[in-house]
Symmetry: C2
Subunit: 418 residues, 2 copies
């Protein structure tokens, strides 16, 4: 029987997650993990915990040698990074839930882990209670990971579900999400896709060894999706979801983005409703794996933090196997997507840049088309975010060069026959 | 950058799984894992691999010091145990897919792992491509695991799906399963629940630290389910699934069984159709996690073997944390279940042993009732498997003593009022 690390915790942040964690550890003394100090910003607030637990002085935790684990759940990116990096340098293990901070500082955080040898775990930062990082890191440790697609933002999924199931308008659905605590009072991080894209950056690291800044990913949220788009989706028996996707192409490079997507009603992701998250992993020979659970909220996030704490007792650390032990994969823009676009007037749409257009409807005020376009036209242009245009990808949206050329040849042959 | 163990594999068995693994390793030389020898029973068969790869002599693998990993996929319990235990004693890591063998020899295999320090991994033995063992072992390593329920047998799930969706009779559905390769020519291991119960024994070890023989678990398959039961299920808007279930009771002991169960159509397990498997884990604070994927078949099983091989390169071994590092949980029969029973005549049913009967239908040839009964009446009796009786549990079937007493008091009060 091996001995386990006793955890003496310094906690940064006592919001819903921090307080959730405190309550859980109170209820479950069997964890043998004690919170020694909690660092907070505003000492005036009433809190349901002994007063001498709290401090406003970071160093009371960071410089206390008896504290061997720092849990950081403060949700302000700048200070979070200072806390996490100092803690690692001071020889402490760190558990964090700050997705934005991790996305912004991934290269530095990787370097710090290499240099200090300390564990830095952040399962709660993506899909909260779904152990997606741990599974990508440990279980899909081979070159068989074909693709991964996921719903990683609960707020937008809640809004889309209400727009579809209860035919609420976007504003109304957003308001309901805010009332129920599934969206922030400033919802732009969620609604415009930043949150999903931030999570996607480090999931790409654990999936494929890719390190990329959020700003270099193609992403949008659901801010352009309109009631009319939902109507078209319904006609076609689709749902609309905000999907984070990555796929290994035939040349070994990886296509990745976060964009609204039509989803077939028998797709695994159609099962993911309201504030839930879901991840579909397609690996060679194993077909599709589907992971589903609560993606946000006080207790689901705290429970993921708890699992990280548990893992620390066994000296667990991410190996970043895809990055350090395999040849990391490269991100590429050299592929095509099948996309739906709705718009007010043709002049806003670069029709000539489409490889082909399969469908168009110009009979009402609101027009739309379905066509195939090179991904670079989306990556490098902003036309699809302007002039009240709305872009939604079709199911299985990614097409490779060979598929597009084949399709073109077939059309030509048909044209010649006619 | 650490160095990894080079894997030199001795493979036992070249059936669908063994051959699948061989093909995958041929296609993906990047694994740095080589199959040095394959031990087979019948040398005469034509196989798509070089002849000098094969041997019929076990010791050509077991006594070869250059072979550091034994993969055992032979599916005959006795010889499998001899191979696995000798390999461990000879200082080799072992990967096995033999659920029956593992269920039968779990105590000895635990002792051997403790004694030799060698890794013994068997992710493919339960739910094939779903990493359920690894997640129970690593991620739910705390005393928060409330319950786990799962569909762990693809054959029976396929048959039930066809009975429901296409209204096939049991025989017809079984025949179709056999034609498609989802059921053995002797299907009794699957149909009568042995396979599911075998898997459940060692999943209980990884979930709760319980070690129990299959024969001591209460289980049945779907052999008693009749068309009439499916009709009743449909009337009540339920599906019927063969569900393996375990739940921690208020007193900390664990209720566990494998029995047919009515499933609400919005239950996660209702999503699991045909030959697929699914696992729902309910953990404190995290709500429900759902894992879904292919539970059987050549490539899904081989892919799980592959993930185990991958893990061996990092010296991974199961810690059996719930068994060795926590206080293991105890199995109990001291609880009640809400059950549906259909039968030909009242005389076969011990009516007086029910706590209460909520519903009964005696108007047709085939009669049925719904009631609450102590689990011991099921564990210790065989009346529910005799005389053409069929038992199906209701959704959320487990009731604890306090719930039953409360309910009884309420009924008494109502009776007094009337």
């Amino acid at each position: 029987m091996e001995t386990h690390k006793q955890l003496t915790i310094g906690l940064f942040g006592f919001g819903v997650v921090g307080e959730g964690l405190y309550k859980i550890l109170q209820q479950k003394p069997s964890f043998n993990a004690t919170i020694k100090k909690v660092c907070i910003k505003n000492p005036g607030k009433r809190r349901e915990a002994p007063e001498d637990l709290f401090t406003t002085d970071r160093n009371a935790i960071l410089n206390d040698p008896s504290i061997n684990v720092v849990v950081e759940v403060i949700n302000e990116s700048g200070p979070a990074y200072e806390i996490v990096s100092t803690a690692l340098k001071n020889g402490k293990s760190v558990v964090s839930a700050s997705k934005k901070m991790i996305a912004e500082h991934l290269p530095e955080l990787l370097e710090l882990q290499q240099r200090t040898g300390e564990s830095f775990l952040y399962e709660s930062a993506a899909c909260a209670s779904i152990p997606v990082i741990r599974n990508l890191e440990e279980y899909y440790d081979n070159d068989l990971l074909h693709s991964i697609k996921a719903i990683v933002n609960g707020s937008t999924n809640f809004i889309l579900t209400k727009m579809f199931e209860e035919k609420l308008g976007f504003r109304e659905a957003l308001h309901l999400a805010q009332q129920l605590g599934f969206a922030e009072s400033d919802p732009s991080l969620d609604v415009e896709g930043y949150d999903a894209a931030n999570k996607w950056t480090f999931l790409l690291t654990h999936a494929y060894g890719i390190i990329e800044k959020t700003a270099n990913l193609v992403f949008s949220g659901i801010q352009f999706v309109q009631g009319r788009d939902a109507d078209v989706a319904r006609e076609k028996h689709y749902d609309i979801k905000l999907v984070a996707q990555a796929k290994k192409l035939d040349n070994g490079k990886v296509a990745a983005f976060v964009l609204p997507q039509f989803i077939k009603q028998d797709d695994h992701l159609a099962f993911v409703k309201n504030e839930y998250n879901g991840v579909v992993i397609e690996s060679g020979f194993a077909d599709k794996q589907f992971f589903y659970g609560k993606g946000a909220g006080s207790f689901p996030t705290a429970s993921a933090v708890l699992s990280d704490l548990s893992a620390l007792r066994y000296q667990y650390r991410y190996e970043y196997k895809k990055l350090y032990h395999h040849t990391p994969h490269e991100l590429t823009d050299d592929f095509y997507v099948r996309a739906y676009l709705s718009f007010d007037a043709w002049k806003y749409i670069p029709r000539d840049r489409f490889e082909w257009i399969e469908e168009w409807h110009a009979d009402s005020d609101r027009k739309y088309l379905v066509g195939v376009i090179h991904f670079r036209e989306i990556k490098e242009g902003s036309w699809w975010k302007e002039n009240n245009t709305s872009l939604v990808l079709l199911p299985e949206p990614i097409l490779e060069e060979t598929q597009v050329q084949q399709q073109k040849r077939k059309s030509l042959e048909l044209a010649e026959l006619a």
